[in-house]
Amino acid sequence: MNWTKKDLIGLETLTREEIETILETAVSFKEISSRPVKKVPPLRGKTVVNLFFEPSTRTKTSFELAAKRLSADVLSFEVATSSISKGETIVDTARNIEAMKVDCFIVRHSIAGAPELISRNVSSAVINAGDGCHEHPTQALLDMFTVKEKLGRIRGIKISIVGDILHSRVARSNIWGFTKLGARVFVCGPPPIIPADVEKMGAKVTYNIDEAIRDTDVIYLLRLQKERQKENFLSSLREYSYFYGIDETRYSEIKKGAVIMHPGPMNRGVEIKSEIAERQNSLILEQVTNGIAVRMAVLYLTIGSRK
């Protein structure tokens, strides 16, 4: 399949074929990171700009390494010292950087829609690295890649996403992606943090963790953001952990061959008991490794053939 999209804003707007093209391309790129010389030349001379308006370690580093392994030059934009703090709009910031002839913006912003707003105002490619509670497409793509690699398929599997679905862009992207590829997606968490319209996206809702983990192939735990307690979405972290955390009893209930995933950063002892995160069927670090291959594929497809 030939790639025609300028940007990657979300998985809601991608077709099944487009998602599969990214995942297949990533398979070939994974091998490059295991070489002694971890570099290939297709993005030589291209400039990729990390435009992060929200803190990030994993995603920013992962995009930076992905771009560098494809031989692109990478500029990381420090928002704290930028002209945004002098009152410039994000569109003006992006257009000014684009005037210096760059090829791609990787955008993270706390407001949903910010990457799309930038993409409509620049001719460079824009890749969404997480916008508000909207989408985090490359995270979902790397999750799908990891599941496909470990379980051999996505069609027909059951995946249960547990945690704060309401505020999670990772959950939204994963629901779009996994349902498009034919998985059965369940979401589970306390009622105040399960969005009302999530079933319209194709996910089934359960408030009972035991039901969510029964017969599931993938247990996908989300990070519980501690500040949600202050906003009265939760009565306490201990209560959350008691009702929804994966402890030894619940771990013993999961079916043989099932895997545990987490987009990080983990709250050990809240959504997952610390030791369980280290078990053989926990794919948490595998996800991080695969993130590079998937982001290489996305960069290659969006800017690889730009003149």
């Binding site: 391309t25 070939s28 570099k39």
Partner: protein, 167 residues
Amino acid sequence: MTGREISRIIEKAAGIIEGEMGFSGLAIVGIRRRGAILADRIKKYFPDEVPVGYLDINLYRDDFSKIGAHPVISETEVLFDIDGKNILLVDDVLFTGRTIRAALDALVDLGRPALVRLFVLVDRGHRELPIGADFTGRKVETLVDEMVEVRLKEIDIRDEVLIEKKK
């Protein structure tokens, strides 16, 4: 060229390669896709300890940003250390020499072979770079606008080599 001729060429070439390169430190690397298949066929004449790898050269193409469409990237699978090895590089058709240039770049990114020799099934001339094959199945006179199509039964139903006018 018929399937039988292709088989005969490969058998003969395997003998010549063995004579000139020996088996000690020898490794075969085929260029995807049809060079990879030919590499497997040559390997059948060699002992088990001679490793075979496959190279995808698309990321190293010099026309990368000019072709517009994305070449499909397949996996590079060279699962042995190429440092100090005598590499037999295998491809189906030698034409401008640009594929081999890319393959050499791809290869040196994986390590430092002691030497690299090239086998091609068909040399059709019209080189644009100073590159030549060490082992050539057959030299064919062609016009620049003709196409040399190598078909191998593993992916194309039957073995044959055709020369056609470009459509």
